[in-house]
């Protein structure tokens, strides 16, 4: 499933303050944005909040979207940044919680793909998400993440190696 760009006329109308056009954009892209964020954040509820925040930011910043990059690339950049902000916020809270109780990985979670994704470094997690969840090419995904295409390619591969190992370990232990 590749996320297609909208009709430029819709983006233009939304940019000019047409709320119906903006709503069309929200309804078209909220599901892929939420999926991307759910995997990035590993938390469906937080992803919902951040999806909302993403589109509020998109509305606020539409004027700065100059049409030179793909709209979806720009949209997912906004989503990614909103997600990173949420992760930063959460990691602050979690540091406090961790200080109170040492974290023990739950054996149930261990076999969940979300847990596997959560265990990846953010660089690798983002790489696999833009390619697998969003279905972007290396070139478009690299533009979204602001890295060279070759870097994205090697990160995707490293992420796959780890995720496949994780899934196989789960299967081997009966998960």
């Amino acid at each position: 499933m590749r996320v297609e760009d909208p009709d430029p006329a819709v983006v233009r109308a939304a940019r000019n303050g047409d709320l119906a056009a903006f709503e069309h954009l929200v309804r078209t892209y909220q599901a892929p944005v939420w999926r991307f964020l759910r995997h990035l954040l590993g938390d469906a509820e937080l992803a919902e909040d951040v999806t909302q925040e993403t589109f509020v930011r998109v509305h606020r910043r539409l004027a700065s979207y100059d049409g030179r990059s793909r709209f979806t690339t720009w949209l997912f950049q906004v989503a990614r940044n909103a997600g990173i902000d949420a992760l930063r916020s959460r990691s602050r809270r979690e540091r406090l919680e961790l200080a109170a109780s040492p974290h023990v990985a739950s054996p149930e979670l261990r076999h969940e793909l979300d847990a596997a994704l959560a265990a990846l470094d953010r660089d690798l997690r983002e790489a696999i998400l833009v390619v697998e969840v969003l279905g972007l090419s290396y070139v478009d995904g690299a533009a979204l993440l602001g890295v060279p295409a070759g870097t994205l390619k090697s990160r995707v591969h490293r992420a796959r190696e780890r995720l496949v190992r994780w899934m196989q370990a789960g299967e081997a232990t009966g998960g």
Binding site: R15, Q30, G67, R90, Q168
Partner: protein, 538 residues
């Protein structure tokens, strides 16, 4: 441990899975348990990630639309350009402490207005620091509409050969209004004088909402978040009023704290954004030599050419024709005297169910010769619905001038059809015939409100400098509805028990047989209560 051949094979399998040209050694895969298992794993991963069932994807559209409908229209870059090159937009934003003793600051409003016509070019180096990084860049501006801002790898170009003065949203430059009426509910103060980058500078403290356009520019390419109520220390070049230093600190208060909690924001008093300009050169054409407008957005349907719509027969002196053209069915003409500008957009093909020209729902009917026009919240746009043409006049010249330009178009404005959004737009007098009406006194710095009547509910929208916006909603009633916001707090307003809901920025109380709600996202609780206490009967 996989050997080198396995490593290479798996990398090729991975690339091939993404549709990249890759030579996969299928013979090796077939014979190697590790690689065939990796191949199967890649497919399995794809089916789990890419083709997952979409059940459970939430519908956030209603909440997003609710949030953005209280948000100012998408901000445009032109005001940023103006804000970056001179304090012009800030002129209206200053809320003057009475009896300020700094002569330079006291005379600033008038000088700020004058600077609009004095600054032909600016170049400067920029250093911008937010909690995560420091970025450097350059700023180059040539009047009236060419700006290039480079920050890190981000480049912002304004004046790209597309629609001139693009954007019909309230333009901050419009806010060059007499400043005498602004007094300090929030008490922004003079910070005194000092020397910055070898230049004499004067400082003032404002709020982020007041200098929204400037901060938008400084956040180019960053996701640092500034709250509307955050205090901003702003240092301007004493001679040209170009900003030299901008320091934004996190405000205190329950609304800010709640907002920050959702974003991992800073604690009260922390610096959230800091920018310094250096090597500032004003009005030396050599420093902007070679500053090229960016290539036009190929997706834009704007084309330079002769405008086809109604033209004003009156313009302020010094205004000369600037770029004109068409965009789809819309004719566009602009005039400028260098920095200040006026734009007339018109169409004979308007099929919308609201006023043409993106003027917002809260508009005020205004008299235009023998007809009627609709002034936008801040008075920086006037829309006219004619018999066979729809027109909007925008510009940086203030509401009275815009109205005069609109009157001179030769289009007799009609009331909007009853089915249009603005049909419930009312005058204060019409509202007052149905309900008690409270308004803010002139000296609070807010413009006369735009009013609406929807059944027995009246809404008054008050616009202040920058992005400061207040909506007062009232309806008959004697008790508040139960609180929706778990963080709601009790306060006393006008001698009545009131409730403040930080999530919605809503201050509610019952008074005189009516329920009142004062809503804002750009003013902190302390100042809001002060403004509520100053509301007077209209």
């Amino acid at each position: 441990m996989a050997d080198l051949l396995c490593e290479r094979t798996r990398a090729a399998l991975s690339a091939a899975a993404d549709g990249e040209p890759a030579e996969v050694d299928h013979e090796h895969v077939a014979g190697c348990p590790g690689c065939s298992s990796f191949d199967a794993g890649v497919r399995s991963l794809r089916s789990r990630l890419r083709f997952e069932v979409l059940d459970g994807a939430p519908d956030v559209a209603p909440r997003v639309l609710e949030a953005v409908s209280s948000q100012p229209l998408a901000r445009r870059w032109l005001p940023t350009a103006a804000a970056l090159v001179a304090g012009v937009v800030l002129g209206a934003a200053f809320v003057w402490p009475s009896g300020g003793d700094d002569v330079a600051v006291a005379s600033l409003p008038a000088r700020v207005v004058a600077a609009q016509h004095d600054v032909a070019s600016v170049s400067a180096q920029l250093t911008i620091t937010d909690p995560t990084e420091t970025r450097t860049g350059t700023l180059r501006y040539r009047a009236p509409e060419t700006l290039e801002l480079r920050v890190g790898k981000h480049v912002l170009s304004v004046g790209d050969g597309g629609e001139p003065f693009a954007g019909d949203a309230p333009v901050a430059l419009d806010l060059v209004l007499p400043v005498a009426g602004f007094t300090g509910a929030a008490g922004p103060a003079s910070l005194g004088s000092r020397t910055l980058d070898g230049r004499p500078a004067i400082g003032v403290r404002v709020t982020a909402a007041q200098v929204d356009a400037l901060l938008t520019g400084l956040q180019l390419g960053a996701e640092s978040e500034v709250h509307a109520t955050d205090p901003v220390d702003l240092w301007l070049d004493r001679d040209h009023l170009v900003p030299l230093s901008v320091i934004v600190r996190a405000a205190a208060g329950p609304d800010r704290a709640r907002w920050a909690a959702a974003r991992g924001g800073a604690d009260a008093g922390d610096v959230v954004l800091e920018a310094h300009l250096s090597d500032v050169v004003v009005n030396d054409a050599r420093t902007v030599d070679g500053l090229q407008p960016a290539p036009a957005d190929v997706r834009s349907s704007y084309r330079d050419g002769a405008p086809t719509g109604p033209a004003p027969s009156w313009l302020p002196s010094g205004m000369a024709p600037w770029r004109a053209g068409t965009m789809d069915d819309v004719s566009i003409a602009t005039w400028t005297d260098g920095r200040a500008w006026i734009k007339v957009r018109s169409t004979t093909a308007w099929a919308g169910t609201h006023l043409f020209g993106d003027v917002g729902r809260a508009v005020r009917p205004v008299r235009l010769g023998d007809g009627v026009g609709y002034a936008a919240e801040g008075g920086n746009a006037v829309a006219v619905h004619g018999d066979d043409v729809d027109v909007v006049v925008t510009g940086s010249v203030g509401p009275a001038v815009l109205r005069r330009v609109a009157t001179s178009l030769g289009v007799t404005g009609r009331r909007v059809p009853a089915t249009w959004d603005e049909a419930s737009t009312a005058t204060i007098g019409e509202v007052a015939a149905r309900l008690d009406v409270l308004v803010l006194p002139d000296d609070t710095g807010f413009a006369p409100p735009a009013a609406r009547l929807d059944g027995d509910t009246a809404s008054l929208v008050f616009t202040g400098p920058g992005e400061r916006l207040l909506t007062l909603v009232t309806r008959p009633g004697s008790a508040l509805t139960p609180p929706l916001d778990p963080d709601a707090v009790g306060v006393v307003v006008r001698g009545h028990d009131a409730r403040w809901s930080p999530a919605r920025g809503d201050l509610e109380w019952a008074e005189g047989g009516q329920v009142w709600s004062l809503r804002t996202t750009t003013i902190g609780l302390g100042e809001l209560v002060g403004l509520a206490n100053r509301l007077v009967a209209s």
